[in-house]
Symmetry: C2
Amino acid sequence: MADETRAATLHDVAREAGVSLATASRALNGSTRKVADAYRERVLAAAHRLNYTPNLAAQAVVRGRTRSIGLVVSDIEDPYFSSIAAGVFRAAERAGLVVTIAVSDRRPERQIELVGALRSQRPQALLLVGSRVADPAIDARLESELRGFQAEGGRVALVSQEGLPFDTVVPENREGARLLAERLLELGYRRFALLTGPAGLLTAADRTAGYREALAAGGVDLPEELVVHAEFSRDGGYAAAGELLRRGLDLDVVLTGNDVMAVGAMARFREHGMALPGDLAIAGFDDIATLRDVTPALTTLHLPLARLGEAAVELALGDPEPEPRAVRIGGHVVVRQSTPPRG
Amino acid sequence: MADETRAATLHDVAREAGVSLATASRALNGSTRKVADAYRERVLAAAHRLNYTPNLAAQAVVRGRTRSIGLVVSDIEDPYFSSIAAGVFRAAERAGLVVTIAVSDRRPERQIELVGALRSQRPQALLLVGSRVADPAIDARLESELRGFQAEGGRVALVSQEGLPFDTVVPENREGARLLAERLLELGYRRFALLTGPAGLLTAADRTAGYREALAAGGVDLPEELVVHAEFSRDGGYAAAGELLRRGLDLDVVLTGNDVMAVGAMARFREHGMALPGDLAIAGFDDIATLRDVTPALTTLHLPLARLGEAAVELALGDPEPEPRAVRIGGHVVVRQSTPPRG
DNA sequence: CTGTTAGCGCCTTCAG
DNA sequence: CTGAAGGCGCTAACAG
């Protein structure tokens, strides 16, 4: 039964229904043209009988574009990206589009390759989220690849930092970090350290800048020895916390590049025998849903991650503008038990 | 510059290089046939100059199939699914395939729809993970849709429970649950309750069956009043724990349907003023990486989730067998602080 | 309102 | 080894 028959074609359906190819086509997909009900029903019945599925590839050839969106993320296992992706799916579904995902594994080179691969699929739009690094050579190649896609009529949207000439959804990392640090100052903290992401990563750099500004405004200095760079991951946070311990400093709160790092750092501090938040307070960034139940509950900056993904789809599918747009999306501080008020 | 040019076609490349269409085609994609080096280089140069990208849709039309894999998951934000998806990506990348994802939002009906939609893309294989429910009507429709896809030469693999006549990667839920419960008995626990997933969901049912078997073998009964069904999510766990508290029972350990529920339940028990694991021990299932740092660290059954995804790709891409195969993948118990030995 | 026909971009026999 | 020609499944003029 599951023998190698070939898929039923529109041709088969037309023959089975005793109508022309064109009529079958018009009856089965949203053509603006009208088909008499009697014919339409015969076609539908025949299609059902033959278990017909339209060949999207063929439609794409003639229409020049697929009903799909290409999405490039750094790591689908990371809740930051999977939450954004969830928003992309939601919005794409509303628009009747499927989404093709590619995972760049945080390698900028690979990201460029993937844009090329997805471009071949002729999607309506290409969405890139995260993984921007401060490297002009990479940026130039990425830009050229994306421009090529646009030149063929494709749309592009980024979720990350401004800087590339395409529509961009930008999470207010810097402002958010500032708000968070300000709140911590209000809570009475004075001796800060920072565990942040890789030096080249723009998201990490923006957050660090925001922290610095707020602390400086509050009269608190953050010298280099109090800043540790590591991977933007649980293990990165763990390692960075270890490095901080090695430096043997006297602290009352640790800021981090994101929640995932914060959780790794908490594990390391605990191993060292420290009580949290008793011996040390800690804060995250992002407000990842899955991490809301760690103990002590993490003070963090809430970012509406799924919203970022939706906004990117809306930008990419909306009316095009001559000038690249930036949609800024802010967050708010959520104070939980990891940073109790401190006399 | 980003003006609406059309994408360069193979035709354009051939003209630019001064060769025939056929030669250009042979030079640019893995044709078995050979092209003289001089020609090949001219073609490659021309392709580069014109910023040519092959039109995969057109290739798909003539070849009858796309270089892609279709993947249906219940919820990409759930770490269980995103970990499996990560494995799928890894294996797909090795095979040079892109992955088109669709999210069923845990609705079996929607899952069937999505299979239809993905089928239209003519992927090499269709992978379904999770969301199997015990409903013969649903199963029949799903089976028919998938059989249709197979009949056209597509490959199918499932990650879940056996029962449908397709290659299936089956995590050993039942055996794993048994191992976990046995270990808890060894640790000295006797008064168990269970917070599990929706009644119809097969994964939940299998785990429950495994727990029951081990407990029965250990002489421990698990009557219905000690079992609470809820959503397979953090909030489901939270709610189920609340229900358990309402019943006012005397317990020493709570088993759960998965880690995510366990974490939700922990939050609820804590709100009720209970110390964990002092007043109550708790165990999860899956060993979700992101959740490894909750406090107290969760005793759980480790499942190699990414491996499940990889195995599904291997099944779907490997040599076909006349009979549906089942690849069983087991886990192992990881004892952590949430279930200390109990006199 | 229906049918005929010419492509869409590409691959692949089939001759040269 | 290369080139010319037909066809993959479908849509969109164009006639009727």
